[in-house]
């Protein structure tokens, strides 16, 4: 089955991203396809490469990056939600005249159309959030 995943909450504050990650891993282990993981609302904060959790805790951002690199996942951060919350890639930082970017490897910033497309293309779109 082809799954889309929507993550609507930020890391650590809320379990949504953890649950989505574990769900994605379980899908892949069962041989399903993950068409896309879309990060919206505060979920965009899951893409900050400046995240530094305590050493004995899970690293939510890095493990998303690692899972994406291992399975060639498409991790998409909503641009409108990202701009509000200070999340940007190199291109966006340049465009906005900012002195730094902060997006983690294997994430990309794109539009909400990517979420609607996931809804159209996937057999199931599964939401994680409040």
């Amino acid at each position: 089955m082809k799954f889309g995943i929507l993550v609507n909450e930020g890391p650590y504050q809320h379990q949504a991203s953890d649950s989505a990650y574990l769900f994605a891993k379980a899908c892949l282990a069962k041989g399903h396809e993950i068409f896309r993981v879309f990060f919206y609302h505060d979920g965009v904060n899951n893409a900050s490469r400046l995240t530094v959790p305590p050493a004995d805790d899970r690293h939510i951002v890095n493990r998303w990056s690692a899972l994406a690199q291992e399975h060639n996942l498409d991790l998409v951060v909503c641009i409108a939600a990202a701009q509000r919350r200070g999340m940007m890639d190199d291109n966006e930082a340049k465009r906005q005249g900012k002195d730094a970017s902060n997006i983690a490897p294997a994430f990309r910033i794109s539009g909400l159309g990517q979420l609607v497309e996931a809804g159209i293309q996937c057999d199931r779109l599964v939401t994680f959030g409040d």
Partner: protein, 130 residues
């Protein structure tokens, strides 16, 4: 599920329902939900909106946001018609529990009971809940 999809103009048309459950201000969910709704219209999907729980407050008339220094987006609900989004369902029980009636809302809606709302949700291909 895929055999239920209509094919039109070479693209897949799915039934998308956006479920709005939260008050319009206080959190950003309602505003960012509207942003997805407007994008989905550009994909020419079969879009409907549901308003339940505190989500019914999103449609209230005479909301004045001056005191909280936030932009009011009440107008956007009235603009939905222009995007061919005309299926707005409001749950009767949620309205009544808050002492509201259809006359208190900024747009024409269909007021439906909880059981009918559940049936409507069952008919959808994609349900996004904010």
């Amino acid at each position: 599920m895929s055999d239920e999809m209509d094919m039109e103009e070479g693209g897949t048309i799915k039934k998308f329902m956006f479920v709005n459950r939260k008050a319009p201000y206080g959190t950003i969910y309602a505003l960012e939900s509207l942003e997805v709704v407007l994008i989905s219209a550009a994909f020419e999907q079969d879009v409907s909106l549901a308003f339940i729980d505190d989500g019914v407050y999103q449609l209230m008339k005479n909301i004045n946001t001056d005191g909280i220094e936030m932009k009011s987006f009440s107008k956007t609900y009235r603009a939905l018609e222009g995007y061919d989004i005309e299926k707005l369902y409001v749950e009767r029980e949620s309205l009544e529990a808050r002492g509201l009636s259809e006359d208190d809302l900024v747009v024409d809606v269909q007021v439906v009971g909880a059981a009918e709302m559940a049936d409507l949700m069952n008919e959808q291909d994609v349900v996004l809940s904010f």
